[in-house]
């Protein structure tokens, strides 16, 4: 720290710090869970307290794909395309029983969990999950991003160390 209005850091760290505290979710809301998602962003629960309120409906502007609701086989290709259009780094939160596992729809037109087609970072159970549940899921994602960063840093340091060793030798 230099004085009161300066900090020194690495750009990557700053970027990661900003990222985990301000996800821009793309709500891929299809069904009942989307209504609970709306409750979560509305006045009462107000997810902006955590910094996650900048909801973007364009995959190119968002970094968290929040799948809220049943994904049918007809919707599958659409979901996959949306995921592919999102730039890296990106994460996926699967909200509710249907997105996680097909829920109680063991049926001819329902995908038995979105992890059939895209990778999932956080599963939020419930049918639909309460807003508290969704917020907890988002905070879990924040922790996960943090852990990933630490992991990366560790790898980088050990890599640098081994580099150093080689140089010394």
């Amino acid at each position: 720290m230099i004085g009161e209005s300066w900090i020194t850091t690495r750009f990557e760290q700053l970027e990661e710090w900003a990222q985990k505290n301000s996800f821009w979710p793309l709500p891929f809301g299809t069904a009942c869970c989307a209504i609970e998602f709306m409750s979560t962003v509305s006045s009462h629960y107000d997810i902006s307290r955590f910094g996650y309120e900048v909801v973007r409906f364009s995959p190119r502007q968002s970094d968290v794909l929040l799948v809220a609701g049943t994904i049918t086989d007809k919707m599958g290709p659409v979901l996959q395309k949306i995921y592919e259009q999102m730039p890296e780094p990106k994460w996926v939160v699967s909200m509710g029983a249907c997105a996680c596992s097909g829920g109680f729809y063991r049926a001819y037109h329902v995908m038995q969990g979105i992890d059939e087609i895209i990778p999932v970072d956080v599963y939020v159970p419930g049918c639909p999950p309460s807003p508290e549940g969704l917020m907890y899921g988002m905070l879990q994602l924040k922790e996960k991003v943090d852990r990933e960063r630490q992991q990366r840093n560790k790898e980088r340091t050990s890599h640098a160390d081994s580099d150093g060793d080689t140089a010394a030798a």
Partner: protein, 564 residues
């Protein structure tokens, strides 16, 4: 229930044996030969003594053991005469062909496509008979009895259907404007995440469009056939999930009618109150989304707050906020919380200011008026022909409300007005919903004043209601009943029944066929927003894309109910 007597002039016109009247539990039914169906339909619509101007529902039923395997079931309703009739048309598996009735009732269009998709019935003369709910890679017809409920088909990118709206070709226009085809949805905020419209634009005007649905088809009807009668209730929650409890009531009332039982007074009282609260919630979502689609975000927050307050009440009753599963065949899942009345009274105080605030902000707001008055207007007559019911129909000047026409539960003991507006446009749909929300509050207030009935919330019929835990553990007889109900479920006598309530966006009906076993043989929902949304292409033609967005919000299309 009023009955229809087959009017002699109508019956005489057709060869003997081609119409076979049946007595129904709920309404009269005619078994009709398919050869005369088209003429008969036209006569039933136009004859002054029948005037069945509204096709409520059309569905298939599969009876594999019959020589004529399939039955197409039409539910007709006369808005002017308030009468109902069911037509049943048997067709064979070898030739499952019926005449299309799109020319008689425009609302038949999507219903026929649905019957084609799910049962493989073919409708001759249908303008666009292709799958509607399942995807293009799907094979077979899932609601046939020999279809495995869990058999899925993969949809690959190359099979995805690409709509090409048919457009009137006018050579001169092409010099002036370049035609452009744009795709809106399904992943689009204004399309509620599950609807898709492909529109051809001439400049800024939409001159043709095609609507694609089925992105949320999660097989409610097939799932009902694989679960016991009580187990279907959580599935009904997820039809119109903005007002789940009304779906519970509609389903339970139909099964109760088939069983010949009635829920106890305390349950009926609570059902009426909670249905009205659910209606307010639903209208809040609908008006909130119209306004947010028109750019008035503040109102969305204002209208979501009353929902949160009502969630509190529902959570206290059932333990769930949104998908309550609080109704049971024969009553309610659990008794009301001790502070039920206080909570309701508090809600009566807290909700009106939100409605008033929103009205103050937008009802006379120049911008909102410009966006909504005269937009997507439809006349009452045309709306009826398309199969509309509910607030959207009442905004077009037709005063039909199930709660007034066929009062159920406690609706005949309270005084309330049915708001009817004449404009038939987005603005009047908004106004009808606001007025209805206030009427719902009036209904609730009167019911609270009339006092909460004492007594149980479940019928005391051991064949329907589970015994108390204590009784099941200490008494042999109760234990046996408990075992039978859990293992075999309720046994509903064989037969069929159509029963309806006023859902938040129109007549919500359940047509149920039972074969006397522990599971429903066929459950068909009459989804109010399905025929309404089938009108969408007609409504948005000639308007701009931004008009189309506001129109969609005002129709209150709930995908769970639309696609089931």
């Amino acid at each position: 229930m009023p009955t229809v007597t087959a009017t002699p002039p109508l019956l005489e016109r057709y060869p003997e044996g081609s119409i076979l009247p049946q007595e129904g539990l709920d309404q009269p039914a005619w078994v009709v030969r398919r050869e005369i169906l088209e003429d008969l339909a036209r006569d039933l619509r136009d004859h002054p003594e029948t005037r069945f101007d509204l096709l409520l529902d059309l569905c298939g039923v599969d009876f594999p053991e019959r020589s004529e395997r399939f039955e197409a079931v039409y539910h007709l309703f006369s808005v002017t005469r308030k009468e109902r009739l069911r037509l049943k048309v048997p067709v064979s598996e070898a030739e499952p062909v019926l005449p299309s009735l799109v020319d008689v009732w425009k609302g038949a269009n999507w219903f026929e496509r649905e019957a084609f998709d799910l049962f493989g019935l073919r409708f001759e003369g249908h303008p666009n008979l292709r799958r509607i709910l399942t995807h293009e890679g799907f094979q077979g017809h899932p609601l046939r009895k020999d279809y495995d409920p869990a058999r899925r088909w993969v949809l690959t990118e190359d099979k995805v259907y690409r709509p090409r709206p048919q457009q009137p070709v006018e050579e001169e226009d092409e010099d002036l404007f370049e035609r452009m085809t744009i795709n809106i949805g399904p992943s689009h905020p204004a399309m509620h995440g599950t609807l898709r419209v492909v529109a051809t634009l001439d400049g800024e005007t939409i001159d043709a469009s095609e609507v694609e649905i089925g992105y949320l088809h999660r097989c409610f009807e097939k799932m009902s056939e694989t679960h016991t009668w009580q187990q279907v209730i959580p599935y009904t929650d997820r039809l119109n999930y903005c007002s789940s409890f009304i779906n519970n009531v509609a389903y339970c009332r139909t099964v109760e009618q088939m069983l010949g039982i009635e829920a106890p007074p305390r349950a009926v009282w609570a059902r009426t109150i909670l249905s009205e609260f659910s209606r307010i919630m639903d209208h809040c979502v609908c008006n909130g989304s119209v306004l947010v689609d028109a750019g008035a975000l503040t109102n969305f927050w204002y209208l979501f707050q009353p929902r949160e307050e009502i969630y509190g009440l529902l959570e206290a009753c059932s333990g769930a906020r949104l998908t309550v599963a609080y109704g049971r065949i024969g009553g309610l899942a659990a008794d009301l919380p001790p502070d039920f009345e206080d909570r309701c009274r508090r809600l009566l105080e807290t909700i009106p200011p939100f409605l008033d605030d929103v009205d103050a902000l937008v009802a006379h707001n120049r911008i909102f008026l410009d966006r909504s008055v005269g937009v997507a207007a439809i006349s009452g007559e045309e709306a009826v022909n398309w199969g509309w019911t509910g607030p959207c129909l009442r905004a077009s000047g037709v005063g039909y409300d199930v709660r007034k026409a066929y009062p159920y539960d406690l609706y005949d003991t309270v005084e309330w007005e049915m708001p009817v507006f004449q404009g038939g446009d987005v603005y009047d749909r908004y106004r009808v919903r606001m007025a209805e929300a206030r009427q719902s509050l009036a209904i609730i207030r009167q019911l609270l004043d009339s006092g909460m009935p004492e007594g149980p919330v479940m019928v005391e019929d051991p064949h329907v209601a589970l015994p108390s835990k204590e009784a099941a553990y200490t008494q042999m007889e109760s234990m046996i009943y408990h075992f039978k109900l859990i293992m075999d479920g309720i046994q509903v006598p064989a037969g069929e029944c159509y029963s309806m309530v006023e859902g938040a966006n129109g007549e919500l009906g359940f047509y149920i066929v039972s074969d006397g076993s522990g599971k429903p043989y066929r459950v068909k929902v009459r989804p109010p927003c399905f025929p309404i949304f089938s009108t969408f292409s007609r409504l948005i033609r000639g308007g701009t894309v931004s008009d189309a967005i506001v129109t969609l919000g005002g129709l209150n299309v709930i995908a769970g109910e639309l696609d089931r």
